[in-house]
Symmetry: D2
Subunit: 376 residues, 4 copies
Amino acid sequence: MANAPIRLGMVGGGGDAFIGGVHRIAARLDGHYTLVAGALSSTPERARASAEALGLARSYDDFAQMAEAEAARDDGIEAVAIVTPNHVHADAAIAFLERGIHVICDKPLTATMEDAARLAEAARHSDALFMLTHNYTGYPMIRQAREMIAAGDLGKLRLVNVEYVQDWMTGPAEGKQAEWRVDPARSGAGGSIGDIGTHAYNLACFVSGLTLDRLAADLDAFGAGRTLDDNAHVMLRWQGGAKGMLWCSQVAPGNENGLRLRVFGDAGGLEWSQEEPNTLWFTPFGEPKRLLTRNGAGATAGNTTASRIPGGHPEGYLEAFANLYTAAAQAIQARREGAPLPDDLLFPTIEDGLDGMRFIEACVRSSANDSSWVTP
Amino acid sequence: MANAPIRLGMVGGGGDAFIGGVHRIAARLDGHYTLVAGALSSTPERARASAEALGLARSYDDFAQMAEAEAARDDGIEAVAIVTPNHVHADAAIAFLERGIHVICDKPLTATMEDAARLAEAARHSDALFMLTHNYTGYPMIRQAREMIAAGDLGKLRLVNVEYVQDWMTGPAEGKQAEWRVDPARSGAGGSIGDIGTHAYNLACFVSGLTLDRLAADLDAFGAGRTLDDNAHVMLRWQGGAKGMLWCSQVAPGNENGLRLRVFGDAGGLEWSQEEPNTLWFTPFGEPKRLLTRNGAGATAGNTTASRIPGGHPEGYLEAFANLYTAAAQAIQARREGAPLPDDLLFPTIEDGLDGMRFIEACVRSSANDSSWVTP
Amino acid sequence: MANAPIRLGMVGGGGDAFIGGVHRIAARLDGHYTLVAGALSSTPERARASAEALGLARSYDDFAQMAEAEAARDDGIEAVAIVTPNHVHADAAIAFLERGIHVICDKPLTATMEDAARLAEAARHSDALFMLTHNYTGYPMIRQAREMIAAGDLGKLRLVNVEYVQDWMTGPAEGKQAEWRVDPARSGAGGSIGDIGTHAYNLACFVSGLTLDRLAADLDAFGAGRTLDDNAHVMLRWQGGAKGMLWCSQVAPGNENGLRLRVFGDAGGLEWSQEEPNTLWFTPFGEPKRLLTRNGAGATAGNTTASRIPGGHPEGYLEAFANLYTAAAQAIQARREGAPLPDDLLFPTIEDGLDGMRFIEACVRSSANDSSWVTP
Amino acid sequence: MANAPIRLGMVGGGGDAFIGGVHRIAARLDGHYTLVAGALSSTPERARASAEALGLARSYDDFAQMAEAEAARDDGIEAVAIVTPNHVHADAAIAFLERGIHVICDKPLTATMEDAARLAEAARHSDALFMLTHNYTGYPMIRQAREMIAAGDLGKLRLVNVEYVQDWMTGPAEGKQAEWRVDPARSGAGGSIGDIGTHAYNLACFVSGLTLDRLAADLDAFGAGRTLDDNAHVMLRWQGGAKGMLWCSQVAPGNENGLRLRVFGDAGGLEWSQEEPNTLWFTPFGEPKRLLTRNGAGATAGNTTASRIPGGHPEGYLEAFANLYTAAAQAIQARREGAPLPDDLLFPTIEDGLDGMRFIEACVRSSANDSSWVTP
């Protein structure tokens, strides 16, 4: 794709915000974007300083100003990355979507169901694209897992269990990364279930192809003075009869980013862990386990396509993230050319975002109702 | 312990029954027992043939005859191992306990709550000892985990998650090992939850020192025509505020005997897997993970005591099982001498067996009642 | 095998000697032996105390006395386990072999080549059996590896690399286990190369079926004041064109008993580690890696035969050791009956012992000669 | 570093050459370079097509033309990446160095010692920088390992063992990646020892801080009709008394890019594997093993500096490669400003390249001379 790089803006992500840097690297890695404008912080001085440090051509005090100004320029941004705390997502995304600027938005979709509905409405009425960065779907072995299940390699699915386990909130919630995550006004009704549980849920859906029927959840806030959950146990009933469990935690010492997925059917099983993302365990029932590798022997088309370098040379989190950005670039390029979107683009959409919001809401509702089974 | 070996009998375990052979090796491994009598099968011809193949001095057609005859001999058995299907446990154990013969019984305790109550009554009124072979408690690293938690190395416990995952019932239930396990008349009301879920539950209690307050369970029978569960998802609420999950399955391809325990407190975490039993992961919160080993650097007293050989030379399932037999031998030897039982003997008792039965019953009850929270 | 247990004696192994206890458990585990007599220590008081603690019927002050007395008894020992330091092996073994008593001897064969030749002469002229306990050959996955290679699953072999890495001599050599191992008079000319290098070499030969052509060695004694090697690097040239490396060390912190074997041919590769003995990695070239398991899917006959319990329930060092004792029992039983030895018995013989001694000698010779290539 | 991106050119790397793509991503990842010119192939049509596909501003038919033309432009390239087969490195690098253009060159340095000497001479006389992409030195855990050893955490070093094991040449050498590597005219005298053995050797030196004294090598060409080695076993003697082994292979089925380093001193040990690059095993002698992680608990300054994202989110090969490009950018920026180079820049230089060439030559020489000890 040797076309001119896509002009990208960013909302949030100033200073040393972890996720802003990730989005910038992901945009850069495959060479499809050039970052030219930003409203990098809700504090104007910090926004300006960050923009200067990054060498941005244009810095704005807030996203509204930025949307208006960029939409008015001939060389204005074509896409924007929104990497603020959750409660800002909806208004920011809507501002750009309404002006025909493509939106790449961090997850979860919004802080509230009302915001989610507003944003979905805007997305559906806009010609601009909306992509949600459920980045774990970008891993090559996850693509292979999805393809193998779709091809029937596991037979009829019976179990889809997933967990996302961290430990960084074991003690008091301190620092910029932690503070807004424990504040319902900025995070929404879900704590860990919104921050990482939605990732786990999205990944389970993406790989299995299943739709959740009901769930029963037990949420806890173990940290002193914390009101939002930092641990959630959830039982899952998938449509069609499969069952599952989801566990997310931010208070389990010894776990950095333990996102692990296990899927079992009547003909085989798959196991994957984000901390060793270049491998995938596959067991055809009754045969020895096989360790499939990224771009290695037995790789499916999706595995190979999502890979840049030979097997045994580890790719990681940033490459998976970049795979989403590249898919978005291909879609945006199609729009530039007035062409239909390629069939095989795999990036999470507004519908995935809504699904995630319903999942969070259902978990909170079930937990508040004595862990009864509820429909998302 | 150079005393005369304990004269042991066995009920069940004829032919190629897996668990009978395990008990015989466990009894032999440390040299404390000599197997002299048996009622090895409910089919007399098979019982006799098995006894002859094993070189037993005395073979009986049934346990009742055996209990009576052995109790009458000067050189009769001092202890009996009961390794039949679950529905025979109670009557057999009672027959020996009433005659003052120590009982070593496989788990779960019985097939029904009524049987469990009868057996408990008999055990409490007998001078003979009763040991239940929750054998996973015999692993050295499990002993270390228990000791570390008791010493406060994890701080206040927040999470105790455990799973026991197999795949051998993925297809139809065939063969001697499978058939009785899917028959409620012989297994009881629990399928996988009784066969392996109780092991997982017992291990979680043994290591954590916690008592279960309530549970919510979702049981499934995925195998065609199966009435008993072959998969169970259970949410746990421990007394004192800790939470947990228990998953057991016999239909998860790629899992042989995946018993895995994870415990997290506000100061640290532990992780252990039965398939790699000689190691234990320990993370003091905020420090690097440490890989503790059997009889290796940092071993606690219980780890060392339960070990026979240096670290790095793997011990396994049979040695852990033998640790229970050896503890029972030490208790029996104390009885021989009229001495009090040693303080530090660690073997599961009738109370553990009752606890396990209540756990099974509660899981079945909750699952039948839309996974509502129930008290065991 | 329900025949009367074989009457066994033991030379060495008193007090808390590690390897004596291992031999006793290995003899007991499958029920084929009963230990009745011993000359358990070169110190008579310790010998008597150890014998009493073990409940032995007969204790002797030295092996010569024991050989004579036991040979004269109708109920004398049929076999003897020799578990002394290396320099005693030859005289002790010869004393029993000359009297028709089967010998089970720890490795390496002897301390000197002269002793080895004398012992080999005695073994060849005796009707009694001689077994050397290269115990790692008893692991089920090692049996499978040997069978797969013999069946051509790896194609023509190109590389056989093996290592045995420990750390317990990193500091000064202290304690009973260490002291005689650093004393040439008791150990022989090899330090780590004799103690563990021979195990590695024997395992490589056993699995690959290859014969060593030449070697080039670089031996070091890193420990202060040590004269015998505690680390050895060896390059290997196998007959027929395959190459290899052998590394053994007792000064590599972080390694308990890291015996690891890797074999590669033009059609596939195998990798095995003693610290995770229940698995074996197999890669047919161009296909995904497969994790073969003990008694699991894809097990060969030798794997299954050497296993006692289902896959996923780990067996370990003691069971592998017991597999040698059981093979010896089957051979002894054949001798009792005047029958020919079963074809498929796999235990290391006097020829393996001689081969190991030539290996040690060649390593020492090459290292002393500027690591030149030498023929063992 | 928000300065204007460095204008970069590339020699080689057209079409689907693996390593060209790697360099381009590495240059892009942290945003310090912009690729503007190239002589991407020795076939002019392919060069032009590749340049167009990449959107390069300027394409040249050969490096000489490119060096001359770019040096003459005001907006000419400031640095060039050389990613051709080995035999082109010297002439190409010299052409740019002589014109004051910084050179980033793939390894090994050249195909012959004569070329290496010429190139070194040119580099020493040029004001331009020369960086060799021994990219594995860019991994954060490798930086930590180096720092820990320098800080004395392992005590006095005794053993430095390293291996780099692949399997892709197990069959015939086919395809563009393989063909030139088996051709002495393009690769030089070393096959696997030059292609991957130099990486292993460089890594061992970088981490240990040791200098090689002598080596003894045994090289083989197992592939049919192959003249260059595809497997090498090498014994190492480091200055100061430490020993080691190096094994590299391209014919070991089941290994993708198994670069593994193990270092042991009298106070501790370290183990690292490129296929799991985000962790590092550290054992202080006599204490439990610790699993150090990238940007995790216990990270050293070099680990943190070389990391972009939190621990548990895997970084990989491309990020490590980019760390070298970023160090080069910092050096080039210093040159732009006429400032001295920062003290803490870690990138391999011409001296490392010469050292690697001497290593290759010594291996070939030793192997040809019956594996005698030689001085590099």
